[in-house]
Every structure is written in structure tokens, then in C-alpha cells.
Assembly symmetry: C2
Homo-oligomer: 195 residues x 2
């Protein structure tokens, strides 16, 4: 029953028989993750890809000055992992952490490949996932080069409307690439201008 969301999400892109759905669902491990707990760690291979059933997670890297940079947020119904590490099974560059107490469904790389054999349609679904990961990281690079912080904040609000008020502003600042102080000033200015 807890896997209903996953199947629902999959069937937005591909159609599965009852047997296939059950086989797929059987491979996922449901896990509770406490706030601030990591489910994937820099330096270790990302064994799993995670589908968020409740709560919210983030993937981020830490630079040599200790500053964190957020690659992705994952609210309910989103997937998250270090895609590079998951595909190649080489050590990850990213950490994946629960921002709030969360429940996730994990699928290991081995089980995924096994499912690809048995349910080839799935391969298409995950290929699209990987492509989207490439596109979005490229798009964010271009946004960071061409847009102001205010425009990037507005894109964030459109991309993650469901979590704006649920996560610390500090994390939003880390995502759009400004200091928390500056984000705070931008927001108070936006408020004033909207009266």
C-alpha cells in the first residue's frame, strides 16, 4: 500500500500490468529517515535511488571552504540520488539528507537492473529520469550565468512551490547561490514592493 505513490508516478509515463506493478513494488524498501539524517554520503557509492513518500530531502555538495551547495530538493513524489554515482557505482560527490522527517522508498542499482530485464518498459522511465537530471543541471548552470539572484529565486519558487514555506530560508539561499542575509533582504524588498 505504501508503494501506491510509486506505481502511480510510474504509470504517468508507462503502463504496467498488475503483475508488473507488484514485481516492481516488491523491490522497494520503505525507510523512515529522521530530519538531518543522511541516506547517501559523499565518498561512498550511492547504492540506491530514492522516491520520496513523505517529507523532503536535499542533495548537496560541500566545497573546500565548507560551504554547502544544494543541487536538488526532493519533496513528495520526487526522485533523488547522486545520479552519477548511482549509474556508475563509483564514489558519490553528493550527500543526500532529509530536511524534515521523511519516508522514502529505496531501489538498489542491482534491483533496478534486474527489473530492467524483467520489465523492459521501466528502462525508458529511468532513462528519462537521467536525461532530466542532465538537462536540469545544464539549465541551472546557464541560469546561474545569465540571471540575477532575484530571477533565480523566482525560478526556485516555480520549481518547488510546495516547500517554500516548509524549509529554512538558509537552504533556499544555498540552492540559488546567495548568502542567507542577501536572500532575506531580497525577500523583504519583494514584500514591500507588493505592499
Amino acid at each position: 500500500m505504501t508503494c501506491a505513490n510509486i506505481i502511480a508516478s510510474l504509470t504517468k509515463h508507462i503502463s504496467l500490468t498488475k503483475e508488473e506493478s507488484e514485481l516492481v513494488a516488491s523491490k522497494f524498501r520503505i525507510v523512515q529517515v529522521k530530519r538531518k539524517k543522511l541516506i547517501m554520503k559523499e565518498g561512498q557509492a550511492a547504492r540506491d535511488v530514492a522516491f520520496v513518500l513523505s517529507g523532503c530531502l536535499r542533495s548537496y555538495s560541500v566545497d573546500e571552504n565548507g560551504f554547502e551547495h544544494i543541487l536538488q530538493f526532493a519533496p513528495v513524489d520526487w526522485w533523488i540520488t547522486d545520479m552519477y554515482s548511482f549509474i556508475s557505482q563509483k564514489p558519490a560527490f553528493l550527500n543526500v539528507e532529509a530536511i524534515t522527517d521523511s519516508e522514502v522508498a529505496l531501489l538498489s542499482r542491482a534491483d533496478q537492473l534486474d527489473l530492467f530485464d524483467k520489465v523492459p518498459k521501466l528502462e525508458r522511465y529511468f532513462r528519462i529520469l537521467t536525461e532530466n537530471s542532465l538537462v536540469s543541471s545544464r539549465q541551472r548552470l546557464i541560469d546561474n550565468m545569465s540571471l540575477t539572484a532575484k530571477q533565480r529565486y523566482s525560478i526556485f519558487c516555480n520549481t518547488y512551490p510546495s516547500i517554500i514555506n516548509d524549509i529554512p530560508q538558509k537552504l533556499i539561499a544555498e540552492y540559488i547561490g546567495v548568502t542567507p542575509e542577501f536572500l532575506s533582504k531580497m525577500r523583504s524588498e519583494l514584500l514591500r514592493s507588493k505592499k
Copy 2:
């Protein structure tokens, strides 16, 4: 004979028999590209992936203000395409243009998939290429968020040592994400500080 470089580059990562090498080589089309000519265009599917035999190319996108942002340079022995479009065969977001008169070897997606069937080892080689594309775009995103323009310039110099003096500074500025004027000032300051 012109394909010797390609085979040499492939065999750095995988080993091929003589027959396999010849089969692979037979699928590439050698093309001369004049300076400023595009081999892939935004909006059209990227049919090919290109291996550079001579000269230098760049992939870039154009933002809504008409400014160009360079994703990648491709000097001799590098691969270049819109990886997303090439994989999915959906319309590309990027243009790929020759910076200098160049010679490239093109491999179509169809021929590539055909080769994957006949020479499965190749799949590994190209999978690594795709992973690297994901990693490098992610890394540049993080660099853009955490580094100053001077540091990004220094990374550019390390990444593309062979072309620093061969391409217009304007393009380097587009790559690291600053105005040409500002790059010029940075460089003159670097010179002065080195006496």
C-alpha cells in the same frame, strides 16, 4: 587513416580487435567544417556525436537577452554534441559551432546503437562519456556558485590548456560567465602581479 585518432582514443578505455576497429571506423563520416559554421542547431535533434580530428568547436546556448553561454569547448580528440538531444533524439537546446576551420568525425545515433549491438564493449565507453557530461555540468554549476571569476578562469586554463591562445578572449569570457571587459581587466591584473 583519418580515423586513427578515434580508434586510438577508444582504445585508451576499451580494447578492440582489428575487425572491431574497422567496423567502428566504417560508421564515422569525416566532415570539414568552416569557421563559424554550425554542425548542430538549437531546435533540431542532434543526430550525431562529433569527434574532433582538427580545429576546435564549442557548444553554447543563447538566452532570452541574446547572450551566449558556452557549455563546452572541444579541441582535438574531444567529443562534442548536445548529449541530451543525442540520447533522446528530442530537439536540442544547444548549438555546436566550429571556432576555427575544423575536421570532425560524425557518428549518428542510429549507427551508434547499431555498433552497441555488434561491439558491446563500446556501450561502456559511451556510457562513461555520458556520465562525464553529467559530472562536468554539475561541477561547473557548483564552481559557478562557489568560486570567483578569477578562480573560474584558472580552472578554464587547466581544463583547456591547448586552446587558451588560439581562441578569442570573448569566448573564454562567455565560458566562465563574465563580460569580455572584466576578463580583460582580470588578465591585466594577473600579468602585473606576476611582474
